[in-house]
Amino acid sequence: MGAYLLRRCLMTLPTLLIVAVIVFLLMRLVPGDPVSVMVGDMADPATIAAITRNLGLDQPLPVQFLHWLGNILTGDFGTSITTGEAVLPAMLHRLGVTAQIVLISMTLAMLIAVPAGMLAAWRQNKGTDMVITGLLVLFISVPSFWVGLLLILLFGVELGWLPTVGYVAITDDPLRGLLYLILPCASLVLVEMGVVARMMRSGMIDVLRLDYITHARAKGLAEGPVLWRHAFPNAFAPTLTFIGLLLGSLLGGAVVIETVFTLPGLGRFLVDAIEARDYPVIQGCLLLVAMIRILVNLAVDLAYPLLDPRVQL
């Protein structure tokens, strides 16, 4: 078990290294340089050259890469070129915002989606199933950013019930913090729910065809235990993998919702950094997002045997 864990962790290393190379190269292909953004239209070439030298941007690429990688291995993601902040704490702070929204909405979505998906699968091709699948396909077809805009129009502009944009940390003011999370979470929940429930439904349909379900019924079990005890763990396992993937991507990919509601999340941080050519921040964010995704996958892989004992550690 310990050896497996170690091996499984070691296996992520080449992936991480390639991720790092991709991130680094991508940013060096970008036209425009951070120094011009810093100095604006006022500076002359001499100043630009001096600042470039001071930031180490005049070194050969491999040197810059090794230097960067070395620092990252010691936990130093550098400092933002534009704000002078240390990148790692800044990213973690933003990640906290994104994580709140993603985790809350994902939890809500799962609470609704898993039973809904199971119900639809159980009543496959019957009226209930038609209604549920119809709703689900509608949910996944409506872009979350449009839902967000509509919610803003309805609750912010028309009704004025909820704050539509901005962010208050829950730690600063729990009540108001929650109010600010309602609309962003609501816009994500629909889509996530659609995706997860569809996954759950198809997984469940696959499982319900299997002999051990018929066997469980043949033993005289009622539908409740058949569904929850026998079908659920097996149908949920692939859904869990999928939710892991989804979580991993949402932590960086909630950028659109963060834009709609102007939340200071990780995705927005990255987009702003791209605009400002803030290499350390861009690299840090992309790397962090990829690392999170890899780690979430790792966690899911390690948790998988709990649901499916066939997968051995």
């Binding site: 036209p31 425009g32 340089d33 951070p34 011009s36 953004v37 810093m38 100095v39 604006g40 239209d41 006022m42 500076a43 002359d44 070439p45 001499a46 100043t47 630009i48 001096a50 600042i51 001071n54 534009t82 704000t83 002078g84 902040e85 800044a90 702070h93 912010g156 502009v157 028309e158 009704l159 004025g160 019930w161 909820l162 704050p163 539509t164 944009v165 901005g166 208050v168 108001r176 109010l179 102007t262 200071p264 791209i274 605009e275 400002a276 050519r277």
Partner: protein
């Protein structure tokens, strides 16, 4: 439909009280649309950083609202040696925020601090002769209250440069940096001192009780300064809608910078005052005169004729300003009727000129960015106008960094751009005129223009300078090296109980003299 909708919404939003609640009395809350970039004046800066730091640091001289230069920490400034030597006599009893009394040595320390290449100060090249400016040969301190700057040649803009709002020569206490030279915080002499800065959330300023104010009338950054509130909280509210809502509900007292349309929206509410201020910044369309197509002045004139500057100004600013084709800002005293001369909006004429120049549908690309909505809007309209007049125009939306980099390297045909505030028209012309081979950012290479600029640069006689500026614009209207669109407009909004707030041409609202009533 929209009017009713929105008004109801605002009222409800205010009633529902879901929006931030008013801060404690004695604290003025100012909404910033983005966090400040650093606390180092003139190093890593933007408009927001400039505004916050202007409340905290001061220089030897400062800019008045009419853009003239006034002494600030200096009691008076003497010139000698035909303008090559400047002698600053410091006011006595000025204290830094750390309690130390300002002495000539601090000025010398600050000078050395900023001129150290490691500090990456943006304006170093204005003083060390590497740029287009003068070279400061020496700075010495004959006594505790006297500082003497010796230049290699006379300059009409030396003091204006020193009083720049973007990179002022800020006088700081040496305790601003740590023992190893790392930057801590600006320990200045302003009426407010820097308090807590929570990145991405807020910047606090506290009233500096040891401030010794000047007695002359407050104007711009100059004159008397009196902090009327105990604290100023710059709250970072990136989204316009949020800050508008917060202003209506009292969570924010001042929004110093708003898009024009948002200002229009807010005018409908009684509890709010909207302030509009025309600025020095100049929004333009850059033309690459070296381009094979645009090197023909007829084509450039065709571009000028093709563009409806009234329409552009209206979309960008909701018709708050009239267009300004001249590098001399409309708020500047030097702006006269002579500066309104320009090819009129006339697509027919543009077409005729194109035919005459033998334009054969070569592709012309307008560069722009999304970072600055007004540049983007201008470009979208310019692109449409050019197509209308028969140009084969394309729009290239770059990120700001790339566009800026292209600007600095001269890699563009047309570029929707904006020059930031320069306090003397000569400085703006200075940015425009030059040899592209030597300086890629130059727009206009004309010996005649260069001579005129030189006259304006060297002369101290206002009449002579005015004549030079008028002649420069006349020449520009003929050469069309650049197309001026309009000067920027700053729209600010305050709650009605905020008194004493005003903006000025440098777009740097000051918070001394501002108070909140009835709370």
């Amino acid at each position: 439909m929209s009017r009713g909708w929105t008004r109801g919404a605002w009222a409800l939003a205010a009633l529902a009280g879901m929006v931030p609640v008013a801060a404690a009395s004695g604290t003025l809350t100012v909404a910033l649309n983005a966090d400040i970039r650093s606390t180092e004046p003139g190093v890593n800066r933007d408009t927001n950083s400039d505004m916050v730091l202007a409340q905290v640091v001061e220089g030897l001289v400062a800019t008045r609202a009419d853009l003239s230069v006034a002494p600030m920490l200096a009691d008076r400034v003497d010139m000698a040696d035909e303008g090559r030597t400047y002698i600053f006599h410091l006011r006595d009893g000025v204290r830094f925020h750390d309690g130390r009394v300002l002495r000539a040595g601090d000025v010398r320390w600050s000078w050395d601090h900023w001129m150290d290449p490691a500090r990456n100060w943006t304006c170093r090249s204005f003083y060390d002769g590497t740029g287009r400016g003068v070279k400061v040969l020496s700075v010495d301190t004959p006594d505790d209250l006297t500082v003497r700057f010796t230049l290699d040649r006379p300059s009409a803009v030396f003091l204006a440069q020193m009083a720049s709002t973007q990179c002022p020569l800020a006088i700081l206490s040496p305790s601003s940096v740590g023992a190893d030279g790392h930057w801590i915080a600006p320990i200045g002499t302003g009426p407010f001192r820097l308090g807590e800065w929570r990145r991405g959330q807020y910047v606090m300023l506290d009233r500096f009780d040891g401030y010794s104010t000047r007695s002359d009338e407050a104007s711009g950054l100059a004159g008397a300064k009196q902090a009327l509130v105990g604290q100023v909280k710059f709250l970072i509210v990136p989204d316009v809608t949020t800050s508008q809502t917060a202003l209506l509900s009292g969570g924010v007292d001042i929004i110093p910078a708003l898009p024009a349309a948002a200002g229009q929206d807010l005018k409908r509410f009684s509890g709010v005052r909207v302030h509009e201020q025309e600025l020095l910044s100049w929004t333009v369309l850059l033309l690459q005169s070296d381009d094979p197509v645009l090197s023909d002045v007829r084509i450039r004139r065709a571009v000028a004729h093709a563009i409806d500057r009234d329409g552009i100004a209206m979309v960008a600013t909701n018709r708050l300003v009239t267009p300004n084709p001249s590098a001399v800002p409309r708020v500047a005293p030097q702006h006269g009727p002579a500066h309104d001369e320009w090819p009129t909006y006339d697509p027919e004429k543009a077409r005729a000129l194109l035919r005459e120049a033998g334009y054969a549908g070569q592709r012309i690309v307008v560069q722009t960015n999304r970072r600055f909505p007004n540049m983007f809007d201008n470009a979208v309209l310019i692109h449409a106008y050019l197509r209308d007049a028969g140009f084969n125009a394309d729009l290239a939306v770059l990120d700001w960094a790339s566009q800026l980099s292209n600007y600095q390297k001269g890699r563009y045909q047309l570029s929707s751009f904006s020059y930031s505030a320069r306090f003397d028209p000569a400085l703006t012309y200075d940015a425009l005129i030059g040899d592209r081979a030597k300086r890629a950012t130059a727009q206009w290479y004309s010996a005649q223009a260069a001579a005129l600029l030189d006259r304006a640069n060297r002369s101290a006689d206002e009449v002579e300078r005015q004549a030079a500026f008028d002649a420069l614009h006349h020449q520009m209207a003929a050469d069309v090296p650049i197309i001026g669109l309009y000067n920027g407009v700053a729209v600010a909004a305050t709650r009605a109980n905020v008194t004493g707030f005003h903006n000025w041409a440098a777009n740097l609202p000051v918070l001394w003299g501002v108070a909140k009533e009835g709370e």
